[in-house]
Symmetry: C2
Subunit: 282 residues, 2 copies
């Protein structure tokens, strides 16, 4: 059987991956969730047909969303992950010996359950005693909680459907309140080729709230358009501080992140800088 | 009409682009050549059905193959481009005021002719008086020429069909002979995810010939797998020298390359360093 999944973007371009079999398909009140075995990319998680992660390359996204802020912070103890029900981001947070508590707030229990069963490479860590999984709307959670976190990682899907409020100002006002004195928030921030307006909009929202705002890029093997960004905002810590060598060594062997990759990620191409209204960086 | 082109790689993944119309399709003794108008990526050049460039993102490849070596060299005057019949690499070379002569050696006249007519964004520069277009086999050309060049840019397709000898040791032995005292050769070097063996093989060949060998990455919007590499080899110049600010300014407004991008490109991800037998870079 010649079986492929395809993700179309803006109806003008698409990525296709060959599929061996369908392992899981279900529907929650929020979205459809599917997990398939691909021919060459390991298992693949799809939300509403959109590629969320593959086992082959998920380490890139997860190392870059977690280690950049957690190594900039001098001693992160408490981390809040919004979205990210697959567990990959939590797994990377737990590599930091200073981290005592990670709360995952995922709106859709079906994502967590499906990944626990079919993608343990990411989700097995959710059983770690330092992790608390909360099935709730992340927007409501940050509005109501009295807890404080050293880092908030917004591991969201695209700004459509349930993830849309995660790109809005009310959410980030509450994120700021939830952050501790040296807190950092990093968020999935779309694609510089196809979504420059979404990138600028999020940076504008963050710029109204935080003294330090930046953007960094990484490569995503299986998302259409391949170049992807995270926003970085903090109450004062700058993102390009040299990471401490002993803390880097404590993380063990990583697959993507290196200190040089950390610095390199903040070098944005000229066209992206101009689209964001920044001066080309020297 | 729902018209798409698709490039499959290793029969496990593919990129698709929506097409509005076919502008040109022809066959030479080497390959088929087609140029289509896409819905969102400008005009697209295909060789044997493989995506060679789109007007939308070709600046990334062409800026990175040209400006990295030409800014590392203190005063490049003569440049040899092997392959690259579309003209995009030549166009970027001509932005350097020191460059007096660019010779393009393309095996297939059909590529040059089709691009002159349909992709002037790249090929118009081939009429510049500093450019000499030679329709010949690049392997034979470097074996026979008595000319000398400050930079050789190997702007080749994948190591199959007519481009295969461009990845071999005999070719690079002659490239070394053709290079001037401070000469640099940069070559299209495939994808770290899907072609690590090809990357290692080329670095091994270069390492037997040149004292300085390195690899740098860039993002390709429309190639399957999105992350791509160039090899860099020189008779002594190191690739990470800080580019001279006055020379950078003389290039005018670029779309991708910045001094920070130049340095960042040499920061390879950990898994790629291990696949190449390098120590993870600090």
């Amino acid at each position: 059987m010649d079986l492929w999944i395809e993700e179309r973007n803006q109806d003008t371009h698409a990525v296709r991956l060959r599929v061996e079999s369908v392992l899981f398909s279900g529907e929650s009140e929020f979205q459809t969730v599917a997990i398939v075995e691909t021919a060459a990319h390991g298992r693949l998680l799809l939300n509403d047909g959109m590629i969320r992660l593959t086992e082959r390359d998920e380490f890139v996204y997860h190392e870059m969303i977690a280690h950049v802020p957690l190594l900039v912070h001098p001693a992160p103890r408490r981390v809040l992950v919004i979205g990210g029900g697959d567990g990959g981001t939590v797994r990377e947070c737990l590599k930091h010996p200073t981290v005592e508590h990670v709360r995952l707030v995922e709106i859709d229990a079906l994502v967590v359950d499906a990944c626990r069963e079919h993608i343990p490479q990411c989700a097995a860590c959710l059983s770690d005693e330092r992790v608390q999984v909360t099935i709730a709307d992340g927007v409501a959670f940050v509005a109501e909680t009295t807890e404080r976190y050293d880092a908030v990682l917004v591991d969201s899907t695209d700004p459509v459907g349930p993830a849309q409020p995660l790109f809005g100002p009310a959410f980030y006002g509450n994120v700021k309140r939830v952050l501790s004195e040296q807190g950092i928030v990093v968020s999935q921030c779309e694609n510089p080729w196809y979504e420059p307006d979404a990138q600028r909009a999020l940076l504008d929202i963050l710029g109204d709230l935080f003294p330090v705002v930046s953007l960094y890029n990484y490569h995503n093997l299986t998302y259409p358009g391949g170049l992807w960004s995270f926003s970085f905002a903090s109450k004062g810590l700058r993102p390009d501080a040299a990471p401490d060598a002993a803390r880097v060594a404590a993380l063990g062997q990583l697959k993507w992140w290196t200190p040089a990759i950390h610095r390199a990620a903040f070098a944005l191409p000229a066209f992206q800088q101009r689209a964001l209204g920044l001066e080309p960086r020297r």
